[in-house]
């Protein structure tokens, strides 16, 4: 250890704070000049942390399920009655669905409909909610036996009910999904049976807003919102949510996906079948394509 004189040591200790202030200003400039640097660093950090998060979130989920079971013991008969009623109702719906499926098949057959190929998907567990104060994203651990996470860049994430977001960063075992509620998220959608086009813009709140809808076809309250192939970034017809007018009389979308309690996400790679102008990387991510994909 180098022995320094007391005044020199004092001067050095007084200098550290200004030096670190300049250093952090430098970091901001570097991050501004090279967007990929912070992306790479955060992806590397995610990769390191994902297994650690998994270790902790596993027991939490187990405990949740455990308390659920114990809690259910007290309301078993009530729940049984409720489930029986629900089951009867669902059986009716099943008949309706079967009739509709048959009708659909008949119509498709008479139209010579070409079925779209089923996309490949991999299922990943949401290990951490890594959103910031002004960002909404989750970290998904991709199982090691599955596909290479790098090929999932730009994949579309759905939970059991609807669209949740898109993969913006991919590491070696984890991917980061930008949720549809993030302020940078812009998704072309089709509203209702007419398929009127609009843009769904995240606002960091729970319900994204609908923008740029045609004044002649205003979105109706309760209408279904599906993704639209406009711009080529998304495949058409994925369920997103339901139109609802908020207090300011602005149409917004109530997402079908349970964005606050995401546990499992299916990541669909549509990227190979998309048209040429898609602003997302296909196989090898280039710099320009990556920055574009970040902004949707």
């Amino acid at each position: 250890m180098i022995r320094l004189s007391v005044p020199l040591r004092q001067a050095l200790s007084r200098l550290t704070l200004p030096v670190m202030l300049v250093f952090s200003l430098g970091c901001i400039l570097i991050g501004r000049a090279d967007q990929n640097l912070s992306d790479h660093l955060s992806t590397a950090l995610d990769d390191i942390l994902a297994p650690a998060y998994m270790l902790v979130s596993g027991p939490i989920q187990a405990a949740e399920h455990g308390t659920g079971e114990i809690g259910h013991l007290f309301s078993l008969s009530e729940e049984n009655a409720q489930l029986r009623a629900q089951n009867a109702e669902l059986l009716q719906w099943q008949e309706v669905a079967m009739a509709l499926a048959a009708q659909n098949d008949a119509l498709k057959a008479s139209l010579h409909f070409m079925p779209t190929p089923t996309p490949e998907f991999s299922t990943g567990e949401v290990v951490a909610d890594l959103g910031g104060v002004y960002a909404r994203s989750v970290l998904v651990l991709v199982p090691p036996s599955g596909v290479n996470p790098q090929s999932l860049l730009g994949a579309i994430a759905l939970d059991g009910r609807g669209l949740a977001g898109r993969v913006v960063d991919a590491g070696s075992r984890s991917v980061r999904v930008l949720l549809i509620t993030d302020i940078n998220s812009r998704i072309p959608v089709a509203i209702g049976t007419s398929g009127a086009p609009a843009l769904m813009a995240g606002n960091n709140g729970p319900d994204p807003l609908l923008l740029y809808w045609s004044p002649s076809q205003p979105p109706a309250e309760g209408a279904m919102v599906l993704t639209s192939a406009e711009g080529g970034a998304f495949p058409p017809g994925l369920p997103v949510g339901v139109v609802h007018y908020n207090q300011d009389n602005q149409p917004e979308v109530l997402p079908l996906a349970d964005l606050d309690g995401l546990r499992l996400l299916r990541l669909f790679s549509y990227t190979n079948k998309l048209p040429a102008l898609t602003p997302i990387p296909r196989s090898a991510p280039t710099v320009a394509a990556k920055t574009l994909s970040r902004k949707h």
Partner: protein, 181 residues
């Protein structure tokens, strides 16, 4: 005689290790806390908790034990906060260092002051830093970000500080007290 010296040397080494562990305690709890807050507990406003926790740590330890909160480690924690919270790289490093700087300037007045005053000072500082973070994020992302998280962060800072301070004071007298090593 020789045995006595080796024993003393061993004891000395253990004491050094103890002192180092006590010295690193504040920064270690800060970094560990940042990771813990990212876990999927499903709490509402969990993301806003992370900067508030970091600010409370930096403020408290800069006030009562500035030696244990050196500026390079504060900058490192800030960078970590940026990477975990998806804010522009370097913004929180700068803001945490600014918070530390202001806290060190106010130290002479705040250390002998009553707890209520320390608490009020933290709330004001945290709200100011959160506002700066909002301005910096908005400027760097070239978009007007919503201001509701700002108010939430201010409330969170005011509401959480007494609880956190109670824990920190316990640590300050126990596991973080370098002089007890």
């Amino acid at each position: 005689m020789a045995r006595g010296t080796t024993l003393r040397r061993h004891a000395h080494r253990w004491r050094q290790l103890d002192a180092a562990a006590r010295w690193i305690f504040p920064c270690a709890t800060l970094i560990f806390g940042l990771f813990i807050i990212g876990m999927p507990f499903g709490l509402p406003g969990q993301a806003a908790l992370r900067p508030v926790y970091a600010m409370a740590c930096v403020y408290f330890w800069s006030l009562y034990r500035p030696g244990s909160m050196p500026a390079p480690l504060v900058a490192l924690c800030g960078l970590l906060l940026d990477l975990l919270g998806l804010s522009p790289f370097g913004v929180w490093a700068l803001l945490l260092l600014l918070l530390q700087w202001v806290t060190l300037l106010l130290r002479r007045k705040l250390v002998p002051a009553r707890f209520l005053l320390v608490w009020a000072a933290f709330t004001v500082l945290a709200a100011a830093v959160a506002a700066l973070a909002w301005a910096a994020d908005s400027a760097l992302e070239e978009i007007w970000l919503p201001t509701t998280p700002l108010a939430f962060e201010g409330l969170l800072a005011a509401g959480l500080y007494p609880g956190l301070a109670a824990l920190f004071i316990k640590a300050h007298r126990g596991p973080a007290a370098v002089e007890q090593a």
